[in-house]
């Protein structure tokens, strides 16, 4: 019960942080407009919710649930992707979820977090290529996936892991599995 509410609120909070982040970085859009695949480097931010949720809650389904909800939040705060964010959220959450599943929801170390971010990033890149970048020439699509994968691993995986460590230090995670084992 607590898990459900915390997972939900976490997803919302990540959505809000991402919103705050994008407020200050309008310049990024100008840069990526010049060469669109660069946008891939930025996409890891969308993927934080799934990885972070799973790292904290440590239960099956957490990654998909958090990622979908964060997608819905971005829908509420305004996005150009319409309802398709829900589909994207599911696919991206799935990418992370599968990695945690491979480790049977037992390991939540930095490498696993990085892998989960990577998985999420690859799923994001592939799905966006199919859904939106369909007309791009093949080499650009490939470049895009590579960039989203890197971004996913570094931003969604690495930053989430750092965030969980910082959160554990504040004691906020005490009621959860992630807080009781000390270091994630």
């Amino acid at each position: 019960m607590v898990d459900i509410v915390v997972a939900s609120v976490l997803a919302v909070a990540v959505g809000v942080i991402f919103w705050a982040w994008s407020l200050g970085y309008a310049g990024v859009s100008a840069l990526t407009a010049a060469f669109p695949p660069l946008a891939g480097l930025y996409t890891g931010g969308w993927l934080i919710a799934g990885v972070l949720g799973a790292l904290i809650i440590r239960k099956p389904g957490a990654a998909i649930y958090c990622e979908m909800l964060a997608a819905a939040v971005s829908g509420v705060l305004g996005t150009q992707f319409g309802l398709s964010v829900l589909l994207s959220g599911f696919i991206q959450g799935l990418g992370a979820e599968l990695v945690f599943l491979i480790f049977l929801y037992r390991r939540f170390t930095l490498p696993v977090a990085l892998l989960a971010g990577l998985g999420s990033g690859v799923f994001l890149g592939l799905s966006e290529n199919i859904l939106y970048n369909l007309e791009w020439a093949a080499q650009w699509q490939l470049l895009y996936v590579i960039l989203t994968a890197v971004s996913g691993a570094v931003i969604a995986g690495g930053l989430s892991w750092l965030a969980v460590r910082a959160l554990a230090r504040t004691g906020a995670l005490a009621p959860f599995a992630s807080g009781q084992t000390g270091k994630a």
Binding site: R169, T170, A172, A174, P175
Partner: protein, 538 residues
């Protein structure tokens, strides 16, 4: 409403709405619940000391109990346990037995028997519409849909919250939110009503309104009541029993209000335990530093505002306009006024955190030093050594993982960490504010009153020239209240300026503050209390 009570044991029986023997009204209210505790105790996860221990208590159905105790004595813990929300998954350990109507509160059989109103109304609002919010509990208890709306309307009428069911819960004032929380619980028709400091942060008018609303609800439903509140006065009329929790475990006193609070034999013990006794002023200890006496404070000017209008956001409309005021060294200023009048917004602006909407706010050379004249332009490092603002919500300002680090953070930030005296000061503060046994605890796990003291203490440790405190005394027992007053007097004596936003009239008087009243979008200065009259009123 028929329930066995010894005649004369309580006034509640006399107040029963329906004369004995009359048929229960349709949609009849749930039976009042009984509470029993036998050697009950609870230790929170991560703590070595128990929050509550050795509690023996029997409360009969329909009784109205005021639960008192020093801050940190475990009152909230008891209420949470009775509401069945002290989950074992938080790592806590339970001792002894606790039962509501014979069943453990977390037992499924107890679901819906208790209704808990938490201290902070904001954190307990679940849904975005008033009607849905009140219906939520009844829905969870699987009340048939047809019965829910009549219950919702009855509950809202009981607490006197007359807004459309469709209105937004986010747009309510503090007092309205408190009523909403009460109504949401009443719609579940609980047999046991648990209120944790239900009037904290309400203005005096709001306090009376909530008290009366609770009275009305009880008269109609006959539910058992346990209310926690430090200020006895407000509730003494409504309750028929006072239970005082001892900080070390067990019960310190138990009986009818007149007897517990009036008995001269008890007074000393209770005063030592920090209970507010009607008719007596808490004894304020001398501060170790320079001695304070009322009427000081013709010190040099530190900060002045001319034609100041303040607003929460850069673009929003001002909540108050045309404020002219000056803050001088060694003076205390109290800011009072109804909820939502803009006191906190004014404090944040004076504290250099919000940009003045219009008008000027200027630091005198003595305060500004090498920095610019407008506090709003100061960098973080410049600000902390000049003006210290304590927010209304303590948790917003916690930065570290232990109470000790939290207290030491400010002095470190202003570059005084090498100074051995700093650490002494930190320990002195912790000891006087009774946080010394919590130095390694996580600030977020403290009790409500402890959090408040800690956030004030962090600024006392930093000791900037101007202290801006938003509701510094809420949730304090008489002893910690008196210590706070003493510490602030010490600051005043050293030439600091203390500005407090507060509903606590006694506190304003104890510091012999100038009083500014914020209401209807303007600030007015109230005639100052003559120094001779400065004493704490009963």
């Amino acid at each position: 409403m028929l329930f066995g009570r010894k005649a004369g044991r309580s006034r509640a029986a006399l107040r029963s709405p329906a004369p004995s023997g009359s048929p229960a009204p349709s949609g009849s209210r749930a039976r009042p619940a009984a509470v029993t505790a036998r050697g009950w105790g609870w230790r929170h996860g991560g703590r070595s000391a128990s929050a509550v221990s050795g509690l023996d208590l029997t409360i009969s159905p329909g009784e109205r109990v005021l639960l008192l105790g020093a801050s940190g004595a475990g009152k909230s813990t008891v209420l949470h346990a009775l509401a069945g929300v002290l989950g074992p998954d938080t790592g806590g350990v339970e001792h002894g037995t606790l039962a509501v109507d014979g069943a453990h509160p977390s037992d499924p059989a107890s679901r819906g028997r208790t209704g808990l109103v938490l201290q902070d109304p904001d954190s307990q609002t679940v849904l975005s519409r008033v009607g849905d919010e009140v219906a939520f509990g009844a829905e969870n208890l699987a009340v048939p849909a047809g019965e829910i709306w009549p219950r919702v309307r009855a509950a809202l009428a009981d607490v006197g919250l007359e807004v459309p069911l469709e209105s937004s819960t986010a747009a309510l004032s503090g007092g309205q939110k408190q009523r909403l929380a009460l109504a949401s619980v009443m719609a579940m028709e609980p047999g046991l009503l648990l209120l944790d400091e239900p009037t904290a942060n309400l203005d005096p008018a709001g306090v009376v309104e909530i008290r009366d609303a609770v009275g009305r609800v009880l008269d109609r439903t006959g539910a058992t009541l346990i209310v926690v509140e430090h200020r006895v006065q407000v509730w003494a009329e409504l309750v028929d029993r006072v239970v005082v929790l001892a900080a070390g475990g067990g019960v310190l006193a138990d009986g009818p209000p007149g007897q517990v609070l009036g008995d001269p034999g008890h007074r000393e013990t209770l005063a030592a335990a920090g209970i507010w006794l009607p008719g007596t002023a808490p004894e304020i200890p001398e501060d170790s530093g320079a001695s304070w006496h009322p009427g000081r404070g013709d010190g040099s000017l530190l900060l002045s505002a001319r034609g100041l209008a303040v607003s929460r956001t850069n673009t929003g409309p001002p909540v108050l306009t045309g404020a002219d005021l000056s803050l001088a060294a060694g003076t205390a200023v109290g800011i009072t006024g109804p909820n939502g009048a803009g006191k906190s917004t004014l404090a944040l602006t004076l504290g250099g955190l919000l940009r003045p909407h219009t008008g000027t706010l200027e630091a005198a050379a003595e305060l500004a030093g090498a920095a610019r004249r407008e506090p709003f332009r100061w960098k973080s490092g410049e600000l902390v050594e000049r003006i210290g603002t304590v927010f209304q919500e303590p948790e917003h300002q916690f930065l570290t993982a232990t109470v000790l680090d939290e207290l030491a953070f400010g002095p470190r930030r202003v570059g005084r960490e090498t100074d051995g005296k700093t650490l002494d000061r930190v320990h002195e503060l912790a000891q006087r504010l009774r946080l010394d046994h919590l130095l390694q605890a996580n600030p977020f796990t403290l009790s409500g009153g402890e959090k408040r003291r800690l956030s004030v203490a962090t600024m006392l440790a930093t000791a900037p020239r101007i202290l801006l405190l938003d509701e510094p005394t809420f949730g304090q027992d008489a002893r910690t209240w008196a210590e706070l007053v003493a510490l602030l007097r010490g600051q005043l004596a050293q030439g600091q300026c203390v500005v407090s936003v507060t509903h606590d009239a006694e506190f304003v008087q104890a510091l012999a503050s100038r009083t500014l009243r914020v209401a209807d979008g303007a600030v007015t200065e109230l005639p100052s209390t003559p120094a001779a009259a400065v004493q704490v009123n009963p």
